[in-house]
């Protein structure tokens, strides 16, 4: 069960190799021991690293389930496998995603479809499967890692941005659908996070790191927030950004 401060006793991470997810698992394990189930590509080194860190932080049980986000149906199977083998799961983190290459995607639709499949279609499958299980058990939190890039899509990365915008909207709707069932949805919208995924890119203003995002998540879970911005200031920055005239928005660099 989640306690009154939002700390879980069992966590399923879909995209267990994600650096933000790994930092979040660390931040939660420091507060309370929890069983950890990591979902991701079979044989992924990043997944193994998260598993190793979880064990070192005293997780009583660490296991893995395999899926490939390019095959959205396999995500649902992994979710069911995790719940069937473990029982109740208090926190499900949907953390997988790809940034893609905007130039390549504009030139080659198959590259764009890959981004859309992983970031949107597979996230939808994950949300529906996990949402159903949480609804049946009558409790639990579904935490979706979105991004501010979906808040208002930019010229420079609109393939990625639009896939995340769709994912974010989907989880908002799912949260409404699950209201009153005991399950709840929390959406995390980080700004530019310095990770492997963004390596080599110029950091945008308000750039942050995975550990800071993880801290914001732990605080947000305690407060019962429905949306967690990281850093928190971005919430107000985007109040303005959302309303900038398009001609101005288009010219904002980065």
């Amino acid at each position: 069960m989640n306690d009154a401060l939002g700390l879980p006793q069992s966590i399923l991470v879909l995209g267990g190799g994600s650096e933000i997810a790994r930092a979040t698992v660390r931040a939660l394990l420091v507060e309370r021991p929890a069983t950890i189930i990591l979902g991701g590509r079979r044989g992924s080194a990043a997944l193994d690293q998260t598993a190793e860190e979880a064990r070192q932080l005293g997780a009583p049980k660490v296991s893995t389930v395999a899926f490939d986000a390019m095959d959205p149906a396999s995500v649902g199977g992994a979710v069911d496998e995790a719940f069937d083998s473990h029982g109740d799961i208090d926190l499900v983190i949907v953390a997988f995603g790809v940034l893609g290459d905007q130039d390549k995607a504009e030139a080659d639709p198959t590259a764009a479809i890959e981004v859309a499949t992983v970031n949107y279609a597979a996230a939808v499958t994950a949300g529906l499967a996990a949402g159903n299980r949480l609804k049946t058990q009558g409790h639990g939190t579904l935490l979706a890692l979105s991004t501010v890039a979906g808040e208002r899509v930019r010229r420079a990365n609109f393939v990625y941005g639009s896939s995340k915008a769709g994912m974010d909207s989907f989880y908002q709707g799912l949260g409404d659908a699950l209201a009153g069932t005991g399950a709840r949805v929390v959406i995390v919208r980080p700004g530019f996070v310095r990770t492997r995924m963004t390596a080599g890119m110029d950091a945008a203003p308000f750039a942050t790191d995975a550990d800071s995002v993880a801290r914001a998540i732990v605080t947000g879970l305690a407060k019962g927030s429905a949306v967690i911005w990281a850093p928190g200031l971005l919430r107000w920055v985007f109040v303005i950004f959302r309303h900038l005239p398009r001609a101005v928005w288009r010219k904002i660099p980065g």
Binding site: M1, N2, E31, D88, T136, Q137, G138, K223, G224
Partner: protein, 440 residues
């Protein structure tokens, strides 16, 4: 505040063994006043005990009452007081059911004299997965004491027969003392509590420095008719409880913050006389001050608060002092803390009260609270203390067997009546009281 969960709510069949209509178990709920998840059963079935509240059979000669478990203390008091009886134990709110009071083995201002409510139950009928059983301290004593304080996990209490103290009037003669620090109130209570039937102190947790732990101590006894002024002697047992103010469901969160609480506490402390003797107070005034405000919990706003209550043995006053220091120092926007001396505990293996000091307080949820309260728990455990399960919503489950060293004894009694684990609560899932959630 606690983690939200949802369950199916059904009425109770009072005749046969308990059956769980869904796979996720069954649990009785009274008025749902537990601060944590004690009355929740996520994805399972909840039996609403309050629909069975018609039975109140009072034996005036024997000074007992047989009462359906769904009857609230509020209703019971309205029947009892005009007849010259009181309830043996009442917590700080009268909006709890008899069944819930038994499940938590509640205590009141008279614990140092009378113990918790388990000591005043003559017998009860308990629906279990094995059928309905009559239990009492003489008949099935193990199951009886596993049920008082058993958090509803040994069965569903159908009705209970309570011993009733007699009262001549519905008023209390109250002595109030204000102390400027914690040591002052501890000394007053240690030396004088035995002279009063009822005693409790309120500590201002926001006072710092040399005012750390400044307190208002109120103690009293029921007045006799001869204690009343002549004008009141004609109707000594008049009882008119009233909820005067309602807090609306939408209350701006943040109105209760460090600054407003400090003002409130200052006013509370200043209003209390340094020392006053023999003031007449009504039952609601003395026992249920918060019940005057309907839905007072809403004042904390949607973000919520949690309640922390622990007990430490006599001699561990340093632990108590550090707890008050830590909470004051952290600037946790806590309201007034309640301090009470417990007498000896009863035989219930999961019953909370044990001889010593108990401290209870509301804490608004702020970042870093987990670490702060974990630290307090460690200190409490190191001196042989424990936290109150009925109020808990965040303790580490690993500490429970140390806090409640007779847990295994309780589990073996429970396993006899519920071998298949039909009785389940979120509290049980979280803390593994039943021993069925080991791997979680």
């Amino acid at each position: 505040m606690t983690a939200p969960t949802a369950a199916d709510v059904v009425p109770l069949d009072q005749t046969g063994p308990i059956l769980a209509p869904r796979s996720r178990g069954i649990l009785a709920r009274g008025l749902g006043r537990s601060y944590g998840d004690a009355a929740q059963n996520a994805g399972g079935t909840i039996v609403d005990a309050t629909v069975h509240d018609s039975l109140i059979a009072i034996d005036r000669r024997g000074a007992t009452a047989q009462v359906a478990a769904g009857v609230s203390l509020d209703r019971l008091l309205q029947r009892l007081v005009p007849l010259g009886f009181f309830v043996p134990v009442t917590p700080g709110t009268r909006f709890v059911t008899v069944g819930g009071a038994i499940a938590a083995d509640v205590h009141g201002k008279n614990h140092h004299r009378d113990g918790s409510i388990g000591n005043h139950i003559r017998s009860m009928n308990l629906a279990t997965p094995r059928g309905v059983v009559a239990v009492s301290p003489e008949l099935e004593p193990d199951l009886f004491w596993a049920t008082t304080g058993g958090m509803g996990l040994t069965g569903i209490v159908l009705d209970a027969t309570l011993s009733l103290p007699r009262i001549e009037t519905s008023l209390l003669q109250v002595d109030t003392d204000r102390t400027s620090d914690l040591d002052g109130v501890l000394a007053l209570m240690t030396e004088g509590d035995h002279r009063y039937h009822y005693s409790v102190a309120w500590i201002d947790c926001l006072a710092r420095g040399r005012h750390l732990g400044r307190s208002v101590l109120t103690r009293g006894d029921f007045a006799t008719v001869s204690d009343l002024p002549a004008s009141q002697r004609s109707h000594p047992l008049e009882y008119k409880p009233a909820v005067r103010i309602q807090v609306p469901p939408v209350f701006p969160s943040g109105l209760v913050n460090a600054a407003s609480m400090r003002l409130f506490n200052e006013a509370f402390y200043r209003r209390a006389p340094r020392s006053r003797r023999g003031e007449l107070q009504s039952i609601p005034q003395f026992f249920h001050p918060l019940d005057v405000i309907g839905h007072w919990n809403r004042m904390y706003g949607p973000r919520g608060f949690l309640q922390y209550q622990s007990v430490v043995p006599f001699g561990a006053e340093d632990t108590l002092r550090r707890a008050v220091e830590r909470l004051s120092g952290a600037g946790v926007a806590s309201s007034l803390a309640v301090l009470k001396r417990f007498g000896p505990g009863d035989p219930g293996p999961l019953s909370f009260p044990a001889e010593g000091w108990t401290l209870a307080l509301d804490v608004a949820v702020v970042p870093g609270l987990t670490a702060l309260l974990d630290q307090l728990d460690d200190e409490v455990v190191s001196v042989g203390g424990r936290v109150y399960l009925a109020k808990d919503s965040r303790v580490r489950r690993g500490l429970i067997p140390t806090m409640y060293p007779r847990l295994n004894e309780w589990r073996s009694v429970r396993d006899l009546v519920d071998p298949d684990g039909l009785l389940v609560s979120d509290l049980d899932r979280r803390l593994n009281l039943s021993g069925r959630w080991e791997t979680r």
